[in-house]
Amino acid sequence: MILLEIFWTFLKIGIFTFGGGYSMVALIQNEVVEKHGWMSAQEFTDILAISQMTPGPMGINTATYAGYTAVVNNGLPMWEGVVGSLLASFAVILLPVVAMLIVFRYLSKHKDNPVTEGMFRVLRVTVVGLIAAAALLLLTEESFGVPGFNLQFVVSMVLFAAVFWLSYRHRVSPIILIAASGLVGLVVYSI
């Protein structure tokens, strides 16, 4: 039963996400694309594009969209896709909210505990690697074109480098960068 599987999968994704939306992307990608094969890497990249351009927390957006796509890709009707997306979104926040409520009560007691502090330090560093892996796994021929001197691959590489630079160095907003890249694609591939 795919709906149950989705609920369980996103429950797991939620509680193992440390360090914000991008690390959740790494987990969702691993579960939804690599492990369950609910969608292709290219489809997942499209979902990320839309999740980043839409208001709201990126983790929620990606979960909602991935839940819908996983169900509909399995040949089930649209309304079950809606159920799947709602299940995914609630599953992803359920355990963290419970954990938050428990910790909230003990906040003052354990705030400066050196053992938990050490744990979070190592976690923060590890998450950086997980996000790097997600980016590496998304470097596919479907998204970038076949490597070599052809139009799609060259354009993709130029766009990748430009967006990376503008985002990393100049903190240009993701919405502007995604919209501009889409426009470049439309113009270049239409000529």
Binding site: N30, V97, M100, L123, V128, A133, M157, V163, S181
Partner: protein, 179 residues
């Protein structure tokens, strides 16, 4: 009170694009300056707690603040308010996009923006490396984590579990050394 909590978090969810951290300034303005529900110090405490805990950062924030202001009912109002609009919008787009996916123009636009999205995932790696204090001494941790997941297909869940165990051990040893 509950209605105000819902509306405030609805606004925070509906008007910020680009992930949880973009919400911080809007949250601060709405909750600290406008509604005066909590002090700036409390806000900063909740912020670091929400960042440290697992899950979606914005929802963790909503949980803390909802709980503080209105107990369990407050949590429900704040969290639902925060995620309602994004979920509705994404659902609409998901249904809509499936009908237009094979359109030539849409395909060309996406051929352009796919490399951009991957670059947008890669850029925070380097930004976060700085804020997470990755140094020459612990450099191997993210590298090993990335290689395990990327090349060997190890689940990130296992990597996180290993990091939790290793981190607790590390914290325990440093605590021992200090005392």
């Amino acid at each position: 009170m509950y209605a105000q909590l819902f509306v405030s978090f609805w606004k925070i969810g509906a008007f910020t694009i680009g992930g949880g951290y973009v919400m911080i300034p809007l949250m601060e303005q709405e909750l600290v300056d406008r509604r005066k529900w909590l002090s700036r110090e409390d806000f900063m405490d909740y912020l670091s707690l929400s960042q440290a805990m697992p899950g979606v950062f914005a929802v963790n924030m909503a949980t803390c603040i909802g709980k503080r202001l209105g107990g369990m009912r407050g949590v429900v109002c704040a969290v639902l308010g925060n995620i309602m609009m994004p979920i509705a919008l994404i659902l609409l787009l998901a249904v809509f996009f499936r009908c237009f996916r094979d359109n030539v123009i849409v395909e060309r636009v996406f051929m352009g923006l796919r490399p951009a999205v991957v670059a947008l995932i890669a850029a925070p790696v380097f930004r976060m490396a700085k804020s997470a204090k990755v140094t020459w001494n612990n450099f191997w941790i993210p590298v090993v984590a990335a290689l395990l997941v990327w090349l060997l297909g190890v689940s990130p869940v296992l990597v996180i579990l290993a990091a939790i165990c290793g981190g607790l051990l590390y914290g325990w040893i440093t605590a021992k050394k200090q005392s």
